[in-house]
């Protein structure tokens, strides 16, 4: 292990894939998307992430293929640099330092050595489109300071800029006008729509723009859902436009197909509309895409489209409007009510996803594994509609059971509440609804937990509610005549002086249940459901409650709203210690005695890791985030780390993830950024071998013949290389199935050695 560095807070994926338009490679095999500080290269066929281009130090804001070399990719970032990548190998080729914060990037074929970027000069919201001359130099890092302004006072979104007719003009939209700058004539034409003063045209605002690839035609999207096709715009007077209207809400993005025969548009309706021949009657739809379409892009080969959606996904769509692949990131669209959980089976992070769904998100691969539809109702996207919310979820019995609570409250007195219990089905590898309980409580459910003790024979669930009761639900035989079906029924209802039950928690062995009733913590025997004892600290309502684990299982921890953290000893039934800490998140580590608490202060959030038995915390990190930390969770590591330093030992077996109010998922890491730059070991062999199409047979043979000729010509000069078939190391490498191969580092030296020419052959 390398020398340990200090623990840092790092982003751990879950970044917005839909921040900018995705870009296709020239052969449509890869799709590039921005993802936080990285650029991700996905295969369009398999959806897999092939490379992650890492190097920017801030949000990547634009990506474009190099128009002069389609195997290279430009990217720009808020860190003020433009980087040129070889995306096939995932190598950074060059870095151009511009200096300004770059908001978007455009490349044009005819511009020999310059690209266009949007920068922010001077005031806060005044943006300029400038062209940047990229100097030719062999060095890795080049200063590119030669900027020339093209358009001033533009919208910062790259959707509001489009280059047309191979870079002869650029169209920009903002508010109520469209401006077109002609590079040759160096003139700007401006077309204004009647603005909000007129009520009928109140929503005339431009939202996006696209240029026809072949003709002088500009398509603009508007807030009222109209698409206007502008022509003759080189004449200030004779300009004309047509309207296409299908969207009922704002047009989010527009794209022309490569030949320009069709126009694609999308918006809040989650329907991709293809307008053929730019006529209103001739249109095709791809509906039910799940979420608002934010961006649309078209592959240069013309065979694929892709749409980026507000629920952080990219859908790759065939030319015939069939969705072929979905690249789904962490959904950050909705409010998180369920908190962060870890699915014991897949070790995936589980939280609210799409409306009415629970998402299973793989932290290792930074992708969504699947969505579990909990509410099972069509989601109607409309303002002012009160939706059913998935408010609570909990896993029990090693992931065999999942309990969810959903609620909908239209008026104060009309609460709709439903609890669902889902059983894991091994055959289908998914959760199946087992029991549905309507109105399990009279009021909001504040907490639910499973008894996760190893020895407990019947699965037990406890729900606590504001109606002053907690209910114990157990799995029993249903009245099925074959005695095969099982279902959950209420076994016990407990209450304490009509106080609202706010939290509940089982001890590690399942023998005790702690339920907090406002300021009072009650301890119940889980065998007999007898009230054992009560703790009351008179320090405000209990916000968090948890038992200590392993050696600390005799301790019970409670955090109150008044900012007091208490630790009770269950053996002596007395307060062990208490401290003043405004705890927002308190999470026990399932693999150790450690408990992480995140406190909130005016400056930011601080992390404390402690053992209940010890009064001194193990580790303190101040100011982990400026924002409020809403949820946290310990995720067990697959392979335990071995930090020797005492302060980092809490990270050995689990990793702590937390979610801030702005829904960025963060974690703690000791690795330096350079170390994280290890190239991904995935090799897509299938991609490299050409498919055996009829063309291949014709062209392949042709090439072979050519190669033979060349070989003959050079044979005399070339050193005869050893025949690869005869070398055992190579044949072993090629014929062993990939999944049983030892790691490449072991094979490497052997492989390279085998290729070296021995002295005998040289002679």
């Amino acid at each position: 292990m390398v020398a340990e560095e200090s623990v840092r807070v790092v982003r751990c994926g879950g970044s917005e894939l839909n921040f900018r338009r995705a870009v296709f490679s020239a052969d449509s095999k890869y799709i590039f998307c921005v993802s936080g500080d990285f650029v991700k290269v996905h295969s369009t066929a398999t959806e897999e992430c092939v490379h992650i281009l890492q190097g920017h130090r801030n949000l990547v804001t634009g990506i474009q293929l190099n128009p002069h070399n389609h195997l290279q990719l430009y990217s720009c970032s808020f860190d003020g640099t433009i980087k040129l990548w070889d995306y096939v190998d995932g190598i950074l080729i060059k870095t151009f330092v511009v200096g300004h914060k770059l908001h978007a990037l455009f490349t044009v074929t005819c511009a020999e050595d310059s690209v266009f970027v949007i920068i922010n000069k001077g005031k806060q919201d005044i943006f300029q489109l400038v062209s940047v001359k990229l100097p030719k130099s062999s060095s890795q890092e080049i200063e590119a300071k030669e900027l020339s302004c093209v358009l001033d006072y533009i919208n910062q979104s790259p959707k509001c800029i489009a280059f047309g007719n191979e870079g002869e003009y650029v169209a920009a939209v903002r508010d109520f006008y469209l401006s077109v700058y002609f590079f040759k004539k160096k003139t700007t034409s401006r077309f204004t729509l009647s603005s909000s003063r007129n009520k009928k045209h109140a929503k005339n605002n431009f939202t996006c723009v696209a240029c026809h690839p072949k003709e002088d035609c500009i398509a603009t999207g508007h807030k009222d859902g109209k698409i206007r096709l502008w022509r003759n715009f080189d004449d200030d007077k004779k300009y004309t436009y047509t309207c296409l209207h299908w969207h009922h809400d704002m047009v989010m993005d527009l794209a022309f197909s490569v030949t320009g025969t069709s126009l694609l548009s999308g918006g809040r309706e989650s329907v991709l509309v293809e307008w053929r021949d730019a006529t209103e009657k001739n249109k095709e739809f791809l509906p039910r895409l799940g979420a608002t379409i934010e961006h649309i892009s078209v592959s240069p080969a013309g065979d694929l489209f892709c749409t980026s959606h507000s629920d952080n996904k990219i859908i790759v769509i065939h030319r015939n409007l069939e969705a072929s692949a979905v690249i789904q990131g962490l959904v950050k669209d909705s409010n998180i009510f369920t908190g962060l959980m870890v699915d014991p089976r897949t070790k995936a992070l589980v939280l609210n996803g799409k409306p009415g769904h629970l998402q299973f998100y793989s932290l290792q691969h930074d992708k969504q594994l699947y969505n579990l539809d909990i509410i099972q109702q069509e989601y109607i996207n409309d303002y002012g509609l009160i939706q059913i919310e998935l408010t609570k979820a909990a896993f029990g019995c090693y992931g065999n059971w999942l309990a969810t609570v959903e609620q909908r409250q239209e008026k104060e007195t009309e609460l709709e509440l439903q609890m669902k219990l889902w059983m894991y089905n091994k055959k289908t590898q998914g959760f199946v609804l087992n029991t549905k309980v309507n109105m399990p409580h009279e009021d909001h459910i504040t907490a639910l937990c499973f008894c996760n003790a190893e020895k407990s024979e019947t699965p037990t669930l406890v729900t606590a509610s504001k109606d002053g009761h907690f209910k114990v639900w157990i799995l029993t035989d249903d009245s099925d005549i074959y005695k095969k079906a099982v279902a959950w029924t209420c076994d016990f209802v407990g209450s304490y002086h009509k106080y609202q039950a706010t939290n509940c928690c089982f001890s590690e062995d399942g023998s005790l249940l702690a339920v907090s009733f406002e300021e009072i913590v009650t301890i119940w025997d889980s065998e007999t459901w007898e009230l054992k004892c009560t703790f009351c600290q008179r320090a405000g309502k209990i916000r968090h409650l948890c038992f200590g684990r392993l050696t600390c299982s005799k301790y019970l921890l409670g955090a109150t709203e008044n900012g007091i953290l208490c630790c009770w000893n269950l053996l002596s039934c007395a307060l062990e210690w208490s401290t003043k800490l405004n705890v927002r998140v308190m999470e026990p580590d399932p693999n150790s005695e450690n408990i992480a608490a995140v406190s909130q202060s005016s400056v930011g959030s601080d992390l404390f890791v402690f053992k209940p038995s010890e009064p001194r915390p193990l580790y303190i990190q101040k100011n982990i985030s400026r924002e409020e930390v809403q949820w946290g969770v310990f995720v067990p590591r697959d392979v335990p780390e071995s930090f020797t330093s005492e302060a980092y030992q809490w990270l050995n077996r689990s990793q702590f993830y937390f979610l801030t109010k702005s829904q960025s998922l963060l974690t703690f890491s000791t690795k330096s950024p350079e170390e994280k730059l290890t190239p991904t070991s995935k090799q897509l062999l299938a991609e490299e071998s050409l498919p055996t199409t009829p063309f291949y047979f014709i062209l392949g043979k042709h090439r072979e013949k050519q190669d033979e000729k060349i070989n003959k010509a050079f044979e005399s000069e070339l050193v005869q290389l050893p025949l690869t078939e005869n070398i055992p190391a190579i044949s072993e490498l090629l014929h062993t199935p990939a999944h049983v191969l030892p790691s490449a580092s072991l094979l490497c030296s052997k492989f390279v050695n085998s290729l070296l020419l021995s002295k005998e052959t040289k002679r």
Binding site: N165, N232, Y239, T240, Y241, T242, C243, E280, K281, N282
Partner: protein, 656 residues
């Protein structure tokens, strides 16, 4: 302004007939419009779209095609198989020639204007030569198997679309050989006439595309659909650098609710008309040089002439319809109320008489005498005069027979104030004066038109004392005749714009003339010159908002007790001009609402100006003063007209 009791009449059940054809004449900037009842109207686009002339319809003469030839000559053809040429000066039909091919469905004029081509029901296409004063049959083209639907300039192969039971409603042949067809499947198709191949197809509607018109430059055309939408197509260059051009659908206009049966393309505007009876003139902004009055959208629904006359003495209203007249007695009330109150009727309005016109011809004009005991109306070929006798509640009608031979057709009829004289403007330009006696009449005099002119008089006005008669044609000035001495008194100098309304004020005998450009003149007949007030207002100019109104003034009247007041109205406002008050300039508010009563008189006096305008009643077809304190206003709400039309094509509207 004074308070009035207003009879708000809404029982004038008038429905204009739908527009069938529209033809634009570039030379004179005039528009000919034919309606389904056979009426042909001429609008002068240079004179604020004023409906200058009209030719009354005929039941058997459904017009299917209308075209201008040789500059000023207007031809129409219709289902009775006749080709008709109109005399635009005398406002009658010059001649009608049968084409001998059954009903005529289409007609086109050759580009040079010397030949006329008609498509007949029997499938034949006939070519006619236009001679200086007639048309002559030239040759007959082979008949097609199916009946010719439209201009048969298209080869048979284009009928390929008809396999799908598709009817081509219109074609246009461009000079570059492109044929554009519009059909019942909602398509606009571009064909290459040399090869007969389809070049481009635009599906624009779910219903029929019924009409097409191409601009003279052939760089833009307009089509009208059965859904009421009008689409504009333009020829635009593909890229700014290349010379290649393509036809692109640009703007849709939805100004109609029903089928757009006819479209026309003037150099600066798209003109459309259809079943919903509106004539819509939509200017093309890029062609309009200055943003003025012409740049505004026009919607013409009501005729620019009076269809209503009123008997002040008996509170009667005479409504003129295409084929009948209705006589109503106004209701009355005994209640009183505050300003703005609706008073309950103590006696409902009475429908006294339904007088059906004889013959297939439409009524041109009608009038009821101020005393209410005479009704006169005229069709193209006959003049009718009736005597009404009131015996308490009973009404008896007696036709005055044996009208003189020269009284065949009248363009305008007017009774003198004391109902003893009848003035008739005939279509030969002459004016007849007839003295009415109890049950009979006596021809007094005929004013012959000025030598050399054949222009017909369309508007008449008589002074309340019966001494003066003013008459105006469509273009020349207003002639004033002395009725006592039976001679021409004077001629008001001709003005560029046609006269829309005339009236002679009591006591002063000032002639008030309203023109289609919204100018109002006051001319003193005894002094034979414009009055001082008229000179002042011409010097200062009218308020710009006054000049921007888009319907002509159709009626002028005077208050018997307030000689300084002139009452006039157009379709959207009623105005009292108080000559004693200062004139408004462009900075003052023209349409000031009624001043609140609690404001001090000083402010009221300061803001007051000569034009008192009320926009409460619209669309206003007629407004007159019954007595000093009573007004009658006849409104015709557009919704009531729409309700009487056949239902439009149902279209799903989003969100309903």
């Amino acid at each position: 302004m004074g308070e009035f009791k207003v009879h708000r009449v809404r029982f004038f059940n008038y429905v204009p007939s739908g527009i069938r054809c529209v033809a634009y004449n570039n030379q004179s900037n005039r528009l000919a419009v034919s309606r389904t009842d056979g009426t042909v109207e001429i609008y002068n686009l240079s004179a604020n779209y004023f409906q200058e002339k009209f030719f009354p319809g005929h039941e058997s003469r459904g017009t299917e095609a209308l075209c201008w030839a040789k500059g000023q000559r207007l031809f129409s053809a219709g289902l009775n198989g006749e080709i008709i040429e109109y005399d635009l000066q005398a406002l009658n039909i010059k001649y009608a020639i049968d084409a001998f091919g059954g009903p005529i469905w289409s007609m086109a004029v050759s580009p040079c204007g010397s030949q006329l081509l008609v498509g007949c029901e029997d499938g034949s296409v006939k070519l006619l030569q236009i001679t200086p004063d007639k048309i002559q049959f030239e040759r007959n083209f082979d008949r097609q198997k199916r009946s010719a639907v439209h201009k048969m300039l298209v080869d048979r192969q284009y009928m390929g679309v008809s396999k799908r039971k598709c009817i081509i409603w219109g074609v246009a042949f461009l000079s570059d050989g492109t044929v554009i067809s519009v059909d019942s499947a909602g398509k606009v198709q571009f064909w290459d006439s040399a090869t007969g191949t389809l070049v481009k197809n635009h599906l624009i509607a779910n219903a029929d595309v019924q009409s097409i018109a191409v601009s003279d430059q052939e760089d833009s055309f307009v089509v009208g659909t059965a859904e009421g939408t009008v689409f504009h197509f333009q020829l635009v260059s593909v890229t700014s650098s290349s010379s290649e051009k393509q036809w692109v659908r640009t703007k849709p206009f939805q100004h109609h609710t029903h089928d757009v049966r006819a479209v026309a393309h003037s150099p600066t505007a798209l003109i459309s008309g259809g079943t919903d009876t509106h004539l819509v003139i939509r200017p093309l902004m890029e062609k309009v040089e200055v943003k003025n009055y012409d740049a505004a959208l026009r919607k013409i629904t009501f005729p620019h002439r009076r269809l209503i006359s009123c008997s002040k003495k008996r509170h009667l209203l005479l409504f003129q319809f295409a084929h009948h007249l209705e006589l109503w007695r106004l209701g009355s009330t005994v209640a009183t109320g505050k300003n703005g109150d609706t008073l309950p009727l103590s006696k409902d309005a009475d429908h006294l008489l339904h007088l059906k016109a004889k013959g297939p011809e439409n009524i041109i004009c009608s009038c009821i005498s101020p005393c209410g005991s005479w009704i006169a109306y005229s069709t193209t070929s006959r003049f009718f005069l009736y005597r009404l006798n009131y015996e308490r509640d009973n009404l008896s009608l007696q036709r005055v027979s044996k009208m003189p031979a020269f009284l065949r057709s009248a363009l305008q009829i007017l009774f003198s104030e004391d109902s003893t004289k009848l003035f008739v403007a005939s279509n030969q330009g002459s004016l007849h004066i007839i003295r009415l006696l109890e049950g009979s009449f006596k021809h007094l005099h005929t004013f012959q038109p000025q030598s050399g002119t054949v222009e017909s008089m369309c508007l008449l006005a008589v002074s309340p004392d019966g001494n003066w008669l003013a008459a105006s044609g469509t273009s020349a000035g207003v002639h004033v005749y002395n009725v006592k001495h039976l001679k021409l008194h004077c001629t008001v100098p001709a003005y560029n714009f046609p006269v829309t309304a005339l009236a002679i004020a009591p006591s002063t005998n000032n002639l008030v003339i309203a023109h289609s450009d919204q100018q109002v003149f006051e001319y003193s007949i005894p002094e034979k010159k414009y009055t001082e007030w008229s000179r002042t207002i011409q010097k200062q100019g009218f308020h710009y908002l006054w000049l921007q109104r888009d319907t002509p003034i159709t009626h002028i009247s005077f208050h018997p007790k307030r000689p300084m007041h002139i009452l006039l109205h157009d379709a959207y406002m009623f105005c009292i001009i108080d000559k004693s008050l200062p004139l408004p300039n462009d900075k003052t508010l023209l349409y000031n609402p009624l001043p609140p009563t609690n404001e001090s008189d000083v402010i009221r006096r300061r803001t007051a100006h000569a034009f008192k305008i009320s926009k409460i009643y619209k669309p206003l077809l007629f407004m007159d003063l019954l007595d000093e304190r009573t007004l009658v206003a006849v409104e015709r709400p557009l919704d009531d007209i729409i309700a009487q039309l056949p239902p439009p094509i149902k279209k799903k509207k989003f969100g309903t």
